[in-house]
Symmetry: C2
Subunit: 337 residues, 2 copies
DNA sequence: CTGAAAGCGCTTACAG
DNA sequence: CTGAAAGCGCTTACAG
């Protein structure tokens, strides 16, 4: 690869001049510009991003910290969210560095990524990385709530508690109190938030939460979300035991519906189904069309990216944003008679 | 941010020593190592990836060049493929830089990304970027075939022509010759390859290809793939005009099935449906389960990544790999009586 | 409008 | 096992 020096020499100018021709940060005369460009082209010269980054201390790259488990694929939720992040960064001229590398405990191996800021997915409890980014002076925005919540941390999240409170109210108003809840993995903060929200709905309406049977997704037990729904219903359904079922995602609901067909259960006649969906493209195509919650995953991503772009200009900016989820009523739930 | 100099001074050693403590490239005595590490921790020092990259001329980052259209979301195919790429790179210790920035004609704006190699999606005809990467000495692997095909270019691809030849033979053997083909966008090389393959199937069996009606997806006409399938069938179906339908993806087939339900067409009784699928997770959940082609999108990604890793070690390596697609027969096609 | 030179924060061959 | 110094390829304040 030709360097700026090669071009400077071949064009008979200083490298400062070559630099200016490419960066346009200071005006260079027409003839000189043309000569430099021509020489550069002949030599196949392109400025080195790395060298420039070192000099200006900016990379125009934003990082997305997202652990990827060995066996599983990205969920519809993650994909949509990433889509939102990419779209926004792309619009603002940033590239995205996907860091899916597993974490290292060896402090010696923890090198700073070449990024101007990072978005971190699903922070864990007391996540030590948050402090580390802070220490490094790298702007950070979380997707998902930090635990514990702190004033100085920027993040975007759904209000999962409120969302399942609404779902609970909706079902209770339809007369459903015997509910099977196919929740997500127990170790996720969302799972807890959702349970609390549902419990609150029951409490508010004076119903006993005992009528709710909660199950959790587990990667060991279930091959995939659809199987989770299918197997769960097949195994534990008895007529009249549940009148409604809340699923983690629409994929889970897909499995539930398949099982229901095989068991001869009419949806929504005998059983109402509602999904706390992660991937809304499917819901409207199912038969019956699935009533679900629209999480706006893409918007979560977009908003996180927007906040990060602001923070990369001014580290002191802090913004916390709750993205509204909305209940989309379709055809899979019915008033209990 | 503390630099290597700060640490060196505070620890009373040279920066070469600090460097060695972190890179482990030469042995440093136990006591010195500990002192350096302690000082580094106190100062919140982490090595700068950018500076190191400049010095060693390697970034351990691979690029994924993938244009993202303003309005559309990634397809299931793209997502799975990216998944494969990420997984393989992650395994090999590389990070992934997603470059979705639109292309610039201004040569002045074309800066080299901080990557050791790149994977490029869907190369266009006579794609000028291929030559450019070559010129820059950056290892390149394509996903999708280059046009024209050249000996020195590495790529992985499906054999789309052969794949639709197989599908054609399968349908013809079932007695279907009046076929509606809901193909992908006309401007993609896959669309052409597929048509050729299907035509070949007809020719081989001595059937007239005139019985095939080909349509192309168009972003302007169709809101999304599902709508494409739905609208197409609604608009042009007349009893006995077609006995089988080949769809671009399973999403398109989903729309076809919805339209068929509304029109009272029995699948597969009256109409056989088969998808040249991009996203196989759906096919098995549909009713009836969709017969489709498994493209192994994830494997395309994995293989491309593997080849790139090799090329990043030795630029001269060239590998071209065809990933076998296989027909997965489920329930949506039936022998024509 | 252009040049000379210091600086960005690392690595590494050379010397001891 | 450790240090001093040159080098990686850019940018930029200073000077003219």
């Amino acid at each position: 690869m030709a360097t700026i020096d090669d071009v400077a020499k071949a064009a008979g100018v200083s490298k400062g001049t070559v630099s200016s021709v490419f960066s346009k940060k200071r005006p260079i005369s027409r003839p000189v510009t043309e000569r430099v460009l021509e020489v550069a082209k002949g030599l196949g010269y392109y400025p080195s991003h790395v060298a420039r980054s070192l000099a200006i201390k900016k990379t125009m790259i934003a990082g997305l910290k997202m652990p990827i488990s060995k066996d599983s694929v990205m969920s519809g939720f993650e994909i949509q969210m990433i889509n939102g992040v990419i779209r926004e960064f792309s619009k603002q001229g940033y590239r995205l560095l996907l860091d899916t590398l597993p974490e290292h405990d060896d402090p010696t191996q923890f090198s700073i990524d070449p990024v101007d800021g990072v978005i971190m997915l699903n922070p864990r409890k007391q996540d030590p990385r948050i402090e580390r980014y802070n220490q490094m002076g790298i702007p950070l925005v979380l997707i998902g709530r930090p635990d514990p919540i702190e004033e100085q941390i920027s993040y975007v999240d759904n209000d999962n508690r409120h969302l399942s409170l609404q779902v609970g109210q909706y079902l209770i108003n339809l007369g459903h109190t015997a509910i099977l809840f196919l929740n997500s993995s127990a170790d996720m903060t969302v799972a807890i938030d959702r349970e609390n929200g549902l419990a609150e709905a029951f409490q508010q309406s004076g119903q006993s939460y005992d009528q709710v049977h909660v199950m959790n997704y587990s990667r060991r037990q279930h091959a995939n979300p659809t199987e989770y729904g299918y197997v769960s219903l097949k195994n534990i359904y008895e007529p009249n035991r549940f009148t409604a079922i809340i699923t983690d995602t629409d994929r889970v609901a897909l499995g539930v519906m398949r099982a229901a067909r095989e068991l001869g259960i009419d949806i929504p006649g005998e059983l109402s189904v509602i999904a706390l969906s992660n991937d809304a493209t499917l819901a409207q195509e199912m038969t019956p069309a699935l009533t679900s919650v629209e999480l706006s995953a893409e918007m979560l991503g977009t908003e996180a990216a927007k906040i990060l772009v602001e923070k990369m200009k001014d580290v002191d900016i802090v913004e916390q944003k709750i993205i509204e989820a909305k209940l989309v009523i379709r055809e899979s739930c019915r008033l209990l008679k």
